[in-house]
């Protein structure tokens, strides 16, 4: 495709009659929303993070104050451990399942399996948490023998604080993995047949083909998945929040950083502290995304 990206500077006449106003007119609505609900809230958060309730500039006082809250470091640790479990399991299992599906099953079998894997995707949000509250409650769970085999006889034992990172990983994986398996499978389909053929003639088995040919060619999709999964994982809220409603008092309302911002803003009336934590989360997410994007050449044209 020959792209003629002429810089539409002030001195240049745009191609085509009337095209000068058309572009800006078509993007006007979106630009308004982008400013109102993307740019402005960030500006607002930064402003609040560096001021006090009276609007006086306070430097990093809000950041220091919230970091010294006795729950802050715990919440950081919780989210970090959860992210580690969630990202590793997502990459390992999604790639492995897509490769297995691609190699083993063909036609209707593969399509059916992908559909079955995708079904829980419809239960995003509160629904997935509710389903897993039942799955993890030994009195009603269909896998209660598995739970009791692992030494869990009551709901309270299952949702002990030490288990939460694993449980949230299971819930997130159950809801989100199917869509990514579909994406990875499609990307595997896009690898030219002759490349795989060449590997086979060279004597590469399933394992070597996957490791040396297919996975490197999936790299961009894996990076894309990790970035979005990271962004999603950092904002953990509904899972711990619903669990705290249902935990018979075991899980607190301050497990994740977003719960903490909610608590600062709406329970402790510390809007500026809440804004400081929000800004930290944004900076961390943006930096991690930027790091991955830069290292992987994600936006390079190939």
């Amino acid at each position: 495709m020959s792209v003629t990206s002429s810089p539409a500077g002030p001195g240049r006449r745009p191609r085509g009659a009337g095209q000068g106003w058309a572009g800006p007119a078509f993007v006007a609505g979106y630009t308004i929303l982008l400013v109102a609900f993307g740019v402005l809230p960030i500006g607002y958060a930064v402003y609040f993070a560096f001021t006090d309730a009276g609007g006086t500039f306070t430097g990093f006082a809000n950041f220091v104050g919230t970091a010294q809250d006795f729950r802050f470091l715990d919440a950081v640790g919780h989210v970090a451990v959860y992210l580690l479990f969630w990202l590793v399991s997502l990459v390992v299992f999604v790639v492995a399942l897509a490769l297995l599906l691609h190699r083993l099953a063909s036609g209707p079998v593969s399509r059916t399996l992908r559909f079955l894997y995708y079904i829980p995707g419809a239960l995003a949000g509160a629904a997935s948490v509710l389903v897993w509250l039942f799955m993890l409650d030994p009195t009603v769970s269909p896998v209660r023998s598995l739970l009791s085999g692992m030494g869990f006889d009551t709901f309270g034992q299952v949702i002990a604080p030490g288990n939460l990172a694993v449980l949230f990983t299971i819930i997130a994986f159950w809801t989100g993995a199917g869509g990514w398996i579909v994406v990875m499978y499609g990307a595997l389909n896009n690898i030219p047949q002759d490349v795989l053929e060449a590997a086979r003639i060279d004597g590469a088995g399933a394992w070597k083909t996957a490791w040396h040919v297919q996975i490197p060619m999936l790299r961009k999709w894996i990076v894309y998945m990790v970035i979005l999964a990271f962004a999603g994982g950092v904002q953990l809220f509904v899972e711990p929040q619903l669990l705290s409603l249902a935990s018979v008092g075991v899980a607190g309302r301050d497990y994740s950083l977003n719960q903490l911002t909610y608590d600062f803003a709406f329970q402790m009336n510390n809007i500026n502290g809440a804004a400081a934590v929000s800004v930290e989360l944004l900076v961390v997410s943006a930096s991690v995304a930027g790091f991955f994007v830069a290292r992987s050449g994600f936006f390079d044209a190939d």
Partner: protein, 296 residues
């Protein structure tokens, strides 16, 4: 490439067996909870605890569960469903109305600020929206919209992912020459969009519509903060509310207790619209999710 050595043919059967069982275990993992949920809605709480987990209860129990579920706070669940539908559909209409023209213009025309807009869209897409909830609350509060449906409808309507999808679609699937030809025939810029680009964009409109609907329908944090009154809640926040009325999960639940099969039924009701939309959108999904992959 470092490919050497041969795989002995004998290992391939056991490999297939192992791989096949891995795929099957994951089928159970993904499907069993859904199956259990459907069956749980047909049971009484007694059957749920004492019966076989994967047995069918009775249609009578299902009807009874439905009656007590709709009886909760005078049909609150129907109200929540209606709220969700209202919020999701209005924001969906706005999303499509702004993001399709925007994606089209970004892909097909040159104007000042185009690059800036594209980069901003990518950055905002990568930003976790839940971390913006508190700042959004402050902004909406300053605009005095807290407690109105616009406090969630307008933020939902801002959907950079939809713009990005439309942008990719128009750059890859619609040739610029086609538009140039229409312009030559005397079509106005709006006419080109209306009569040439839009009819070709049906798949991407369906796709953006699907993703945006699901994202709006399943959002929890934003309405949880913006619409605290029970009669304004969408279904997601509503079922969370129901959850805290189940004595087995929350011992402090009062006299208006909800039983577990009714909560299971409420969960099913909450996901049904997503399933229906999913079935309709399914044929667009795989091709659309891969819009970027087939770019070459």
């Amino acid at each position: 490439m470092l490919i050497k050595s041969k795989t002995p043919a004998t290992s391939s059967t056991s490999y297939r067996l192992l791989a096949g069982s891995v795929l099957t275990v994951f089928v159970v993992f993904f499907v069993l909870p859904v199956l259990w949920l459907v069956l749980a809605a047909t049971k009484t709480d007694q059957q749920l605890v004492h019966g076989h987990p994967l047995s069918f209860g009775s249609f009578q129990a299902l009807l009874d569960n439905w009656d007590s579920l709709t009886g909760f706070q005078d049909g609150a669940i129907l109200l929540w469903l209606g709220n969700s539908a209202l919020y999701a559909v209005i924001s969906l209409v706005i999303t499509l109305g702004v993001s399709v023209p925007a994606g089209y213009a970004l892909a097909m025309t040159e104007f000042r600020g185009r690059r800036t807009l594209l980069i901003a869209t990518l950055i905002v897409m990568l930003m976790p929206t839940a971390t913006l909830v508190v700042p959004l609350f402050l902004e909406i509060n300053a605009a005095r919209l807290i407690g109105t449906m616009w406090s969630i409808v307008l933020p939902y309507a801002f959907y950079p992912f939809g713009v990005y999808l439309t942008y990719i679609y128009f750059t890859t699937a619609v040739p610029k020459d086609l538009l140039a030809a229409a312009r030559m025939d005397g079509c106005s810029e709006f006419g080109v969009f209306r009569h040439v680009a839009l009819p070709l964009a049906t798949p991407v409109i369906a796709l953006v519509g699907f993703f945006s609907f699901v994202a709006n329908w399943t959002n929890y944090f934003l309405p949880y903060v913006m619409l605290p009154e029970s009669d304004q809640m969408p279904i997601q926040v509503g079922v969370g509310n129901l959850l805290s009325s189940v004595p087995q999960f929350n011992p402090t639940a009062g006299s208006l207790a909800v039983e577990r099969p009714q909560l299971a039924l409420a969960t099913l009701v909450a996901i049904t619209p997503v399933l229906v939309v999913f079935l309709f959108a399914q044929r667009f999904l795989v091709s659309g999710m891969l819009a970027g992959a087939t770019k070459e």
